[in-house]
Amino acid sequence: MAPNELEARPKQKVERREEATRPGAYFQPAVDIFETKDELVLVADMPGVPPDGVDVDLEGDELSIEGRVRSGEYDGLKPLYVEYGVGGYYRRFTLGEMIDREGIKAQMKNGVLVLRLPKAERARARRISVDAA
């Protein structure tokens, strides 16, 4: 297989959260998380989730993301051959950084959530220059 050929990553089912208000299957979204001097960026694949189907919650240092899919588009469809389950997405993270809650930005496009979490002022890495004596 060519090195740049994309491989599927089978969806991992997650246990339904105790406080889930909606029943049904939940899956763990694949994520990239990276950190720069000023912010944490989380990118999550949540195919099937419309822009208004996303909830982001930050409580203390615990971040959770949830996505809900539209169900109507499966009306009248009888499955013949199945390679993936369909349902919502849920995942929780513990953040090691203080986040400026007011500055959090979320964008949802083509089934991908991009979450930008600016670090709180006092948590930002400071550059200290050392003068040669």
Binding site: A8, D32, P79
Partner: protein
């Protein structure tokens, strides 16, 4: 007997899970990208594929006889060099997926739609393969 209402979408979710387990077991399906689900919609077959983050103009769809080919490329934007990764689970690269449709098609009427990261291809069945209602004439 108590009648319990079950949401049709929940029924479908359960059916998909059951079929997944039956077909592939706990190891899950192959790693062919993108994963697809094939449905019967009466007068058409519907193929759905999860391709999040791929702009629709980077996806090519071909139908030949009973074979659907989905081709494209998924690019994952790279952060600048000073960024440090904590997790990296999202793959990028080219993909090509060939799906055999279990019936004859009217391939000139195929329609595709991309919405929220899900590709939906609707392939109408050939006229002679569609379910027909036969009118019984009164003698």
């Amino acid at each position: 007997m108590a009648l319990v209402y079950q949401d049709p979408f929940e029924q479908l979710q359960a059916e998909l899970e059951r079929m997944l387990d039956a077909a592939f077991g706990p190891a899950g399906p192959s790693r062919l990208y993108p994963p697809v689900n094939v449905f019967d919609a009466g007068d058409a077959y519907v193929v759905k594929a999860e391709v999040p983050g791929v702009s629709p103009d980077r996806i090519d769809i071909d139908v030949e006889d009973d074979t659907l080919t989905i081709r494209g490329e998924r690019a994952v934007s790279e952060p600048n060099r000073e960024a440090a990764y904590h997790r990296r689970e999202r793959g990028s690269g080219q993909f090509r997926r060939v799906v055999r449709i279990p019936g004859r098609l009217a391939s000139d009427e195929v329609k595709a739609e991309y919405r929220d990261g899900v590709l939906t291809v609707r392939l109408p069945k050939a006229k002679e393969a569609r379910p027909r209602r036969v009118q019984i004439e009164a003698a």
